[in-house]
Chain length 139, copies 2
């Protein structure tokens, strides 16, 4: 698989995960090429909405251009969603970071494997799966 | 343009409308072919989230198969969004209907031009554009 196919496969894995956890989750058409800001995926349940920019990489560090971070922030604010980046390093599970947790290099925002493991959430932590039985949709 | 291209152009017109009204709005990749339920577009602001199934048609009446209506209802409940269908009849503006406003023929759900004009909202009414200046994001 080339990098784009791996990215798409990674996004589909997340869509499956969220749906199986009983969230609504969709991939966005033309994200990255649209005239209007948009993330890669949107997930939501009765309480929370997550806008996620997804990266699958073979490198040990992943950089996000400032305009990509800014677009994610803009979209999330307009749509009413939490802004997250999800990074899948080789041999690692997905790690999810808030924009504030990315390292600001001056010209880019970045996250190393080490930073992602230290500050990031797993996908189960992201949706609070541990608490689902107690705090879930039981209203 | 063929029917699919007209559908895509119609969705893009709505994405533009919502973004210009300062909502977040995206088209969904693979809607209709995805394994998991998903609408055609999602729009949101600080307060509301709308899941919209969009139809552009040359006919005077548009039918929705029951499974399409059910998928929209399922997704909207899981994601935490209002469920709407948007129909663009030839020579008419978009009309937006709640699922309860569709006519249940027994085998399908449908809306005629006449029903859409009588019960539907225009896109400005859908987002409450008339009230935006008074009730908008001023918190």
């Amino acid at each position: 698989m080339n990098a784009k196919a791996k990215g798409t496969a990674g996004e589909r894995e997340l869509v499956k995960f969220f749906n199986e956890a009983d969230w609504g989750c969709i991939r966005i058409a033309g994200s990255g090429s649209s005239k209007y800001p948009s993330p890669d995926i949107l997930a939501g349940n009765a309480i929370r909405r997550l806008a996620i920019e997804c990266k699958v990489t073979k490198e040990n560090k992943k950089y996000f251009p400032p305009e990509e971070v800014e677009q994610l922030r803009t979209f999330s604010k307009k749509f009413g969603a939490e802004a997250w980046v999800g990074i899948k390093f080789s041999g690692e599970p997905w790690h999810f970071l808030m924009l504030e947790d990315l390292e600001n290099t001056g010209s880019n925002f970045g996250a190393s494997v080490e930073l992602a493991k230290r500050r990031g959430l797993t996908k189960e932590e992201l949706i609070g799966a541990d608490n689902a039985k107690n705090n879930g949709d039981q209203t």
